[in-house]
């Protein structure tokens, strides 16, 4: 069973973060919500592994 990778895995964190925000730039709240939802679905599919997804969901929900 695979594990969720919670170690740093993004080579240039500042670059990535800026690109993430750039996608939302100038968007309404509604558009941004839609983009975020699509992004979650796209990345979830890429991961695919149910155990990893469950771990990710749990980590995200742990407010």
């Amino acid at each position: 069973m695979s594990k969720l990778n919670v170690a740093p895995n993004i080579a240039k964190p500042d670059d990535f973060y800026a690109r993430l925000l750039a996608v939302h730039e100038g968007r309404s709240k509604e558009e941004s919500d839609a983009i975020n939802a699509r992004l979650v679905l796209i990345l979830s599919n890429h991961i695919g592994d149910a155990a990893v997804l469950d771990e990710a969901l749990a980590l995200a929900a742990d407010g």
Binding site: D33, A34, A37, R38, V40, L41, I42, N45
Partner: protein, 540 residues
């Protein structure tokens, strides 16, 4: 004397006075079924085919108008095959494979069901419910002519029921006045609003969905041909509703199903001019059609706590109800009949203890819960309940047009498939290493062509030993329950090998009368078989 609650399409069991009505004492029947809908009649066929005397009481004199159920799934057809009317359903029904999904005005994708080859019956057919009921009743008439002890009494309305523990007493109203009927066993197939359930004070719990659907069956005029496909719209711009479905039925008839919200004026919506206004907006002005049937319905996902109460059983809509997405109502009701029939038969013949009947409730509640889960999920996708669920739903629809991965997430109703009774009481050992998952213990049989015949036609109605390249005796008596062998070979039957052997080289399957797998092994062992038969009949 008493009025019909609904109009009849065919008056196929007109009222006739029965000699029972003139007797001073109530006549006792082994089995009484209340309700002559599809599930009541199917249950009567099951018992009648076993030679068990059965009396069906219905408060009408035939089949109601209105198509209601139109999708009959493979397992339902296979059960009907065992009852002798599956082929007629298939012959009349419409088979479709292509579906199209729209969001607002855009087609986002289409799908082909790509049915698996090597099955007598397709994944499902579209057929108006009155046809199904007609074929079931015709079969009942044929069986009667052949001497099967089945009685069907029209305009016999059950007004009261007394649960006496080991039998039941019914007050029945007829055009000639009331009389009493006694039953050793009672099967309540009296529909979603089940008067019997109410009279017995049984609870029916679950969720009511606050939505209504306007259904219109229309017959196309002129030579405009609509394809035989299923079209589903999310948030159609042609109406204010959340979804619309277009589906082909036999007789050039199309089903259009508009989801129109909760706060609607039913009477107003059902006026022909208002239905036509919706239809015209949807179909375009050039399409001409006749209206065949319209109705508004709401739905609920509910089930009873137990489908058995002593000598009383509940089956079909009386026991459980689901949303229409996925066509699980009549389909799962047929599985109730299939499940109850053989168990009740064995108990009545004294070959199995009454506790076997508890497994009817156990197994069919398992099935009902799976159906409720699936149809609730479809409903939540089609009508998102919160802002965020709507955001995700629309994200799925948006992506489905662009990326293949999102298409399986689109849920406009999942095809009704029978449940596997995983881990339930009647299951014997799964002793076939490398055996296929789909034919594991608890699963319903999977059809396959075998030497020019269908496996489906070789199985069912009694306990059988399906041997694939394995030795076993032709018959075996297990304390009064006969097991007969059905011997087949994987040679020349690749589908059979794939569906029943997997990586194994031989197999022995113990099949129940309802064609579910009770146990399986690599080879025959008498002691193991005896023990599995005893487990499968509640005698262990």
């Amino acid at each position: 004397m008493f009025a019909d609650r609904y109009a009849l399409a065919h008056k196929v069991y007109p009222y006739e006075k029965s000699p029972d009505q003139d007797r001073a004492e109530a006549v006792r029947h082994p089995v009484v079924i209340v309700g002559g809908g599809p599930i009541g009649v199917a249950t009567a066929l099951d018992l009648g085919q076993q030679g068990i005397p059965v009396l069906v009481l219905d408060d009408h004199e035939g089949i109601g108008t209105g198509s209601r159920a139109i999708c009959f799934a493979k397992r339902c057809l296979e059960i009907a095959d065992r009852y002798g009317c599956g082929e007629r359903m298939l012959e009349k029904g419409v088979v479709w494979n292509l579906g199209k999904v729209f969001h607002r005005d855009d087609k986002i994708f289409e799908f082909n069901l790509l049915p698996e080859e090597g099955h007598k019956y397709p994944a499902f057919i579209n057929l108006q419910q009155p046809y199904v009921e007609q074929y079931l009743i015709e079969r009942l008439r044929t069986l009667q002519a052949e001497g099967a002890p089945i009685q069907l009494r029209g305009k016999n309305r059950v007004d009261a029921v007394e649960d006496k523990g080991d039998h039941v007493v019914l007050d029945v109203m007829t055009p000639d006045g009331p009389y009493k009927v006694e039953a050793d066993w009672l099967v309540a197939c009296d529909g979603a609003s089940s008067p019997l359930r109410g009279m017995l004070g049984e609870e029916f719990t679950g969720k009511v969905f606050q939505d209504s659907f306007l259904i219109a069956d229309i017959r196309m005029k002129g030579d405009l041909q609509f394809p035989t496909e299923r079209w589903f719209w999310f948030e159609p711009s042609h109406g204010e509703g959340a979804s619309t479905l277009l589906h082909k039925q036999p007789d050039d008839t199309w089903r259009v199903d508009f989801q129109i919200g909760w706060d609607v004026d039913r009477k107003e919506e059902l006026k022909e001019e208002n239905v036509r206004r919706r239809l015209d907006a949807f179909l375009g002005p050039e399409v001409e059609y006749d209206m065949v049937w319209t109705s508004i319905y709401t739905f609920q996902c509910k089930r009873m706590e137990s489908f058995r109460r002593g000598h009383i059983f509940f089956a079909g809509d009386a026991a459980h109800q689901v949303s229409p997405f996925g066509a699980r109502g009549a389909n799962s009701g047929m599985q109730d009949a299939d499940n109850l029939g053989w168990k009740l038969g064995l108990v009545i013949r004294g070959k199995a203890p009454e506790t076997l009947l508890d497994t009817y409730s156990e197994e069919r509640i398992y099935g009902a819960d799976e159906n409720i889960l699936n149809s609730t999920r479809s409903t939540d996708f089609i009508t998102p309940k919160s802002e965020i669920s709507k955001i995700f739903r629309n994200a799925v629809l948006h992506l489905a047009g662009r990326a293949e991965f999102a298409r399986p997430l689109v849920n406009s109703g999942r095809l009704s498939v029978p449940c596997v009774y995983d881990g339930l009481s009647l299951n014997g050992p799964d002793g076939l290493p490398g055996g296929p998952e789909r034919t594991r213990v608890g699963a319903p049989m999977v059809d396959a062509p075998v030497g020019g015949k269908w496996l489906l036609e070789m199985l069912g109605g009694s306990f059988q030993l399906l041997t694939i390249d394995a030795e076993a005796p032709e018959t075996l008596d297990v304390d009064g329950i006969g097991v007969t062998r059905v011997a087949v070979s994987a040679a020349g039957n690749p589908e059979l090998a794939q569906r029943y052997l997997g990586d194994a080289r031989s197999a022995v399957y113990l099949m129940r009368p309802d064609q579910h797998v009770a146990a399986r092994w690599e080879s025959y062992d008498e002691a193991a078989l005896r023990s599995a038969v005893n487990i499968a009949t509640g005698r262990a």
